[in-house]
Amino acid sequence: MITYIIRRFLYALPLLMAVNVLTFVLFFVVNSPDDMARMQLGQKHVTEQAIQNWKHQHGYDLPLLWNGEQAGGKQLTDTIFYQKSVNLFLFDFGISDSGRNIGTDIRQRMWPSLALALPSLIVGLLVNITLALLMVLFRNTYVELGSSVLCVMLMSVSSLFYIIGGQFLIGKLLRLVPISGYDSGLAALKFLILPVIISVVAGIGAGARWYRTLFLEEVEKDYVRTARAKGLTETQVLFKHVLKNAMIPILTGVVVVLPLLFMGSLIMESFFSIPGLGSYTIDAINRQDFAIVRAMVFLGSVLYIAGLLLTDISYTLVDPRVRLS
């Protein structure tokens, strides 16, 4: 088991390196730091001196890959690639283009993101699985037909409409909860209710359909027939046998996204002005702050790869049929 995990871990390293090189190429080779400086400082009336100053201030005035002017190991370390990309491996995200420490920002903003994403995931999962089980229970009836049609319709609505509609209906017309904002501690609860509800509702269409197909696949199997032949009622079969067996794909599907919860949801957070990582990223994109976007790209990939790792491990834990190889 341990060797397996170590091997998976070693496999993740080249992936991270590739991600790192890719972002490096995207951010520094396609466009030179001069271009970025000009973008930040404005197009017109910008002197060569101002560009040099900006580059020096943000540490972009080094050569890209190889510094011939330095001696020894400094030839490699005094470069943009080393300073800006390799340091990401140590989770040293550096200073953003507006001068703030990215690492501290991320540690601060991670928790609001999690406070929104975790309840949304759990409630969404419960709602979707319950609905899917009900749909399977009433299969081949008009209830199922109606609910499948409803699911397709729910799926066809853009998530933006759910957010705008929810904010308008619950926040503005009914005035039940504040439209947007955030507070520290337990006071945040009233700000979180609406986004959680909306993200659950927005996910029902796709989620319930997906779990329904999972359950339908299980329902066809032999052990289900045996259970029915034993005289168990349909509800007992579904909730005791089918649900348990379908838990394997459900669980592994959930484990993949667990680490990514830290990243938060981009649009939810920015609509409800929750100071999480999602809105942080959006702000960075809008301000064209390359350092933050680069850090978030790297962080996102690290978390995704961690998710893959966790999935593999959880497979082996949950499903005894899977052998490590």
Binding site: L22, N31, M39, S158, L160, K172, Q288, M296
Partner: protein, 446 residues
């Protein structure tokens, strides 16, 4: 005639899909699923709706120089058809079918005094002398006459079809799916006839902040949605098919390399990758303004870039499916036989593997379409979508978002975008479902 980059690619796409459809129709083993789709009323009705959307999108993809304008502004066929809507710009917001403006302003009366009241719109309901008494009747009359003309046209076509005495075609007309097609066509044709004839006199869906007709905006947005949904697949397909089949067939280091590439790409959150790439494109565009001097060309290039990037981020899923399927297929007897007979690998891939994974390609293309259309709206909201000057549902929603806070609420832009987007995505989803049911061998039994 001006051919923009996306225009050219759309023509290419149309040609490709026609050739592909013709190829599918000729394949013996594809007949059964195709017949199954044709027999499903829901699938045929949604296909009809999709084709109507595609027709509008295609009309919007034929650009030529505007004859009567001085600049070198390009207009499309759709612009010509919607000439009145395009030119009937108001000053600012106005509600659907409104004759008065949205906000009060100081009006100068004939006798020199001024009054604080809602101004009459320049075009909306301008033909009415006394809006208070005539408005309701006029709207009713115009709607009825527009609808009856559209419906009359459709009824005539239906009558011709009904009069067709050919026996085989008669049974075709009587089938449930052809009834569904005719019903959809009837609704679409008479509905659009009504809306078009009404928009000569009113703004049927109101006007937006700068006074542009919202109905015109939604019609223009159709093309953007379709381009994003379909051109992306044009980028994605070659990558996914070539890499997926090669990884599955050759195994060994080829497989390792390809798996490594797609896991790497997959591990970067796609929104961030898109954001990063679009930022880079923006930097490139601001530093090379000479290549993008025309507003339309600039917006078009950005749309194309967006499709490219979306394609690059979304090919991995299909690639993985194709790899798994090829791994299964390469152990099949007919592939082994071909190998034993000394057929070259390239030939085996092309003749034995590719045709047998086509159903997966088809299913995933149709399934991806709707999610791409939805993604466009989200990306535009984060400002990494299409150019802000391009008409798109995402941009409409983005600007309408703040209007919900106004008093009275400006709901029409949002509603228009919602209705049209919902219709397109719902049709695409329903069609995708039946395509999947028909082509997926695991579901073939039921």
């Amino acid at each position: 005639m001006i051919v923009l980059w996306t225009d050219g690619l759309i023509y290419l796409l149309v040609v490709t899909s026609v050739v592909f459809a013709w190829y599918l129709g000729r394949q013996q083993h594809m007949r059964r699923p195709l017949k199954k789709i044709a027999a499903s009323p829901v699938a045929m009705a949604s296909l009809t709706l999709l084709l109507c959307f595609a027709l509008i999108g295609l009309a919007d993809s034929i650009h030529f120089k505007d004859g009567d304008s001085r600049g070198n502004e390009a207009v499309s066929l759709l612009d010509v058809a919607c000439d009145t809507m395009r030119k009937h710009g108001e000053k600012t917001y106005s509600a659907p079918f409104a004759v008065h403006g949205y906000a009060k302003e100081t009006l100068a009366l004939d006798d020199g005094s001024t009054r604080w009241d809602y101004p009459r719109l320049q075009y909306g309901g301008a033909h009415l002398a006394d809006p208070e008494t005539e408005w309701a009747g006029d709207v009713f009359d115009k709607t009825l006459s527009g609808f009856s003309r559209g419906a009359g046209l459709m009824l005539m076509v239906l009558l011709l079809a009904w009069g067709d005495q050919h026996e085989r075609r008669r049974t075709l007309w009587r089938s449930a799916s052809s009834k569904a097609v005719w019903a959809t066509l009837f609704v679409v044709v008479s509905g659009s006839y009504t809306l078009f004839s009404l928009s000569e006199y009113y703004h049927v869906l109101g006007t937006d902040k700068v006074g542009e007709d919202v109905f015109y905006q939604t019609l223009k947005s159709i093309r953007t949605g379709l381009v994003i949904g379909s051109l992306t697949t044009l980028v994605m397909l070659p990558l996914a098919i070539v890499f997926g089949i090669m990884a599955g067939f050759f195994k060994g280091w080829v497989d390792d390399v390809i798996q490594f590439i797609y896991t790497t790409l997959n591990s970067i959150p796609s929104v961030l990758l898109i954001a990063a790439s679009i930022l880079m494109v923006q930097v490139y565009m601001t530093n090379h303004p000479e290549n993008f001097n025309n507003l339309l060309v600039r917006a078009d290039m950005r749309l194309l870039f967006l499709c490219l990037i979306l394609g690059v981020t979304s090919w991995t899923g299909l690639c993985r499916l194709l790899r798994a399927e090829t791994l299964k297929l390469r152990e099949m007897e007919y592939v082994l036989a071909a190998q034993a007979l000394g057929v070259k690998p390239a030939m085996i891939l092309f003749r034995h593997i590719l045709p047998n994974v086509m159903h997966i390609v088809l299913i995933s293309v149709v399934l991806d379409f709707s999610s791409l259309v939805l993604a466009e709206a989200v990306l535009s909201y984060i400002n990494i979508g299409v150019d802000p000057t391009t008409h798109s549902w995402g941009n409409m929603i983005n600007s309408a978002r703040l209007e919900m806070a106004r008093e009275p609420v400006v709901w029409w832009s949002l509603t228009a975008a919602f209705v049209f987007m919902f219709a397109l995505v719902l049709a695409a989803n329903l069609f995708a479902d039946s395509v999947r049911d028909a082509f997926d061998p695991r579901r073939a039994g039921n």
